[in-house]
Symmetry: C2
Subunit: 236 residues, 2 copies
Amino acid sequence: MEDKIRLYELVTQNGRSASPYVWRIRYSLAHKGLPFESMPLGFCDIQKQFGGRFKTVPVIEHGATMMAESWDIADYLDREFPDRPPLFGSAGERATLRLLENWIGIEILRPMFRIYALDILNAARPEDRPYFRSSRENWLKGVTLEEFTADRTSQLPKFREGLLPLRLHLASYPFLGGNTPNYADYMVLGLFQWVGTVSTLPLLAKDDDTLRSWLERGFDLYGGIGRAPGMQPLFE
Amino acid sequence: MEDKIRLYELVTQNGRSASPYVWRIRYSLAHKGLPFESMPLGFCDIQKQFGGRFKTVPVIEHGATMMAESWDIADYLDREFPDRPPLFGSAGERATLRLLENWIGIEILRPMFRIYALDILNAARPEDRPYFRSSRENWLKGVTLEEFTADRTSQLPKFREGLLPLRLHLASYPFLGGNTPNYADYMVLGLFQWVGTVSTLPLLAKDDDTLRSWLERGFDLYGGIGRAPGMQPLFE
């Protein structure tokens, strides 16, 4: 009998899984057909739960193994379950995805945080908010989340323009991974899951049909795991 | 006996292969260990050579096959030479590289053209210059190449910052493709070959050691095919 997998994940007040990195692993587990037990944590629970050993989620527990970092977890899943569909079909695919992760982090994730930092605060469980505010405002060197996001509407045009490489690709392929989804889809879908969990400002233009179709396909994957309740509108 | 491969490529006045797309195929042929005969053309020869069938290089000729478009050629080489090292190790690697190609086109190639458009003109064979100028100034809706590049020095900081995803990756891996080079390396190396062929303005900061080391490794690949004479300094 296989050991059960536990996935420690971040939840907001509405109970939704809220971390873009956790969503990568949710999709990765589904890709490999691996069931898991969800272990929901708030921001402030992470320190207590792991006694400082891990500072971020996702964390997975599988038999005697306990580990953090989404990329390392994806590698672990491929190594530990070689009979399941691989996340990385070749060494070159893995490396190219790793490179793409940098681009996604800089060109998509960062601008999303720029727009939604205050929404994340307000979506967090009340008991997590003081920690979230102080840790993030510390990163921002004392700029408040309110100040940081005050001009966020003006960020939208540039953000949307930055998604052009995705649109060009999706004009030819149903998924970022080509005819079937791969880890590139899971990385970007996870970012939109994050935004959709907290958003009070629609991120995408209503006529962005290429991205809309892909998001619909992506959220439907694996029995609709992206359809968890509580998703805010992503489109104007 | 295998049919010979002919590679039709663009040359500048100094005889250097000057197209970033041709360089992708030069590296791809070397990756697969396939020799080829170079068929150098100037900008104005392309129309004459192919009678309008192809408007751009690379074009390869192999037996009865003659085809353009670097991406299609790479696919052809993998299909036609399945016993040679693959350019695309998995369907997901191929799709991820295709997505990356969009990012590279928008975030690296376009800004390079913004900086080097006039240098390309001046590096072309004298007989090709009127065609190059008129076709590109037509794209630019009448803006001259001189006007287009007048403020190019001010573009450098943003361009260099845009390479951060590459630097982050190369801090952990010797090549964009991981431990061995893949088509991601060939795409970006080809862009630097293009710049190095025409440049009168060093593109990179002198302390950009991460990119410098990777470029040295990349130019040394396959017996140093990137070391063709006539390379201008890439670093300040």
